[in-house]
Symmetry: C2
Subunit: 220 residues, 2 copies
């Protein structure tokens, strides 16, 4: 019985890795679609998000079954609750990659990124890909080393997000089309939230490894 | 023992009502701060969000204890998992009310809403207050009657959100300051997400009452 239970917990962990791998792929392709204004690729990202949603659904059902049938306690219980929470964060990261792709589709054939913002969004895209990869790595090999890396990349994203508003405010009136300002505001918000959810996953892993909830509160 | 358990489940339900009451108060005051450009009131909303966060923290700890000590199954297990999920949604609704208040603070003494958008945001504010009240009512007296009401108000919010982008696109170039376009884009997104989280809570209640996960998937 214990072995069955361990296998079930391992299975949850494997599914989290699977979700994070797909999230990492989704943000990479969404960025590529955004940079090269590639409608077909954007459609692919939008379509692929259905799979991430269904992975969450399966994982959550299995976690509920483990709770019902195994009645785990202590560290095992924390692992199952943690898996439920991490799957929710990963699902949202998938949604945000999809939102970025949808922004490409909405604005097509025009580019969603006005020229003045190209460099900023290349950097945001790179940071988002790095944080997604770090999240996948963290879930593949749980340990505390990745936590500060993820926090540092999230700070990059926060700074880039703020820089978008400075750029908007500093642009000479009339130099940016109104719909472009709305586009970059939304895109920037999506990237910033993408980072927040990665931090949220890393806080759960930290909690599972240390039993300490505080980082979750202190990061507010 | 069973009676202790029932009391513990009732206690989770009471705490969800408490959270939703505070969320409802937060969005009401955030709207008032936004409409009347009231910095002091905005600060109050920002400050009060700490309490909502700590209510979530307490509720989640208690839910974890119930899982560990009572090992609930079937409908009781669903109720505990549902409470964990609903507390996460309510906490996000509190965050979004805080973000609206923060937008007032960032732009003060200027108003965060340019004149052209006053009517739209009055309506968004009203819809957000209605959906928060409906969520409170749903959690106070769980039943399926409130679910279509919440979906309908969420659709109002989605339509208003889209109308903000039409207004932005239609505005004569140069008639809206760039930072105002960024402000209304973010504010509108916050209201739209506020509605999404209310729908998410109502889907959990629906799931608890019917055992049917499908509405969660079909609403994507």
């Amino acid at each position: 019985m214990r072995e069955v239970f361990r296998n079930e917990l391992d299975d949850l962990a494997t599914q989290l890795v699977e979700m994070s791998t797909r999230v990492s792929e989704a943000i990479r392709l969404a960025n590529q679609a955004l940079r090269s204004n590639d409608l077909e690729l954007a459609e692919q990202v939008i379509e692929a998000d259905i799979k991430i949603d269904s992975l969450q659904h399966v994982l959550d059902q299995q976690a509920a079954e483990i709770l019902a049938l195994q009645a785990p306690v202590a560290a095992d219980l924390r692992a199952v609750i943690g898996a439920l929470r991490m799957s929710a964060s990963l699902e949202r990261m998938g949604d945000l990659a999809r939102h970025i792709a949808q922004q490409v589709r909405i604005r097509y054939p025009e580019s969603a990124i006005p020229e003045h913002f190209t460099h900023t969004f290349v950097r945001m895209g790179e940071s988002a890909e790095k944080i997604a990869e770090a999240t996948r790595e963290l879930l593949s090999h749980p340990g505390l080393e990745m936590v500060p890396t993820i926090n540092a990349i999230d700070e990059e994203l926060d700074e880039l997000h703020l820089s978008v508003f400075s750029k908007i405010a500093e642009a000479p009136q009339g130099s940016l089309a109104p719909h472009h300002i709305a586009d970059v505001t939304l895109l920037s918000r999506y990237f910033e939230r993408f980072g927040d959810h990665a931090v949220s996953v890393s806080q759960k892993v930290e909690y599972l490894l240390t039993g300490n909830w505080e980082p979750h509160l202190s990061k507010k």
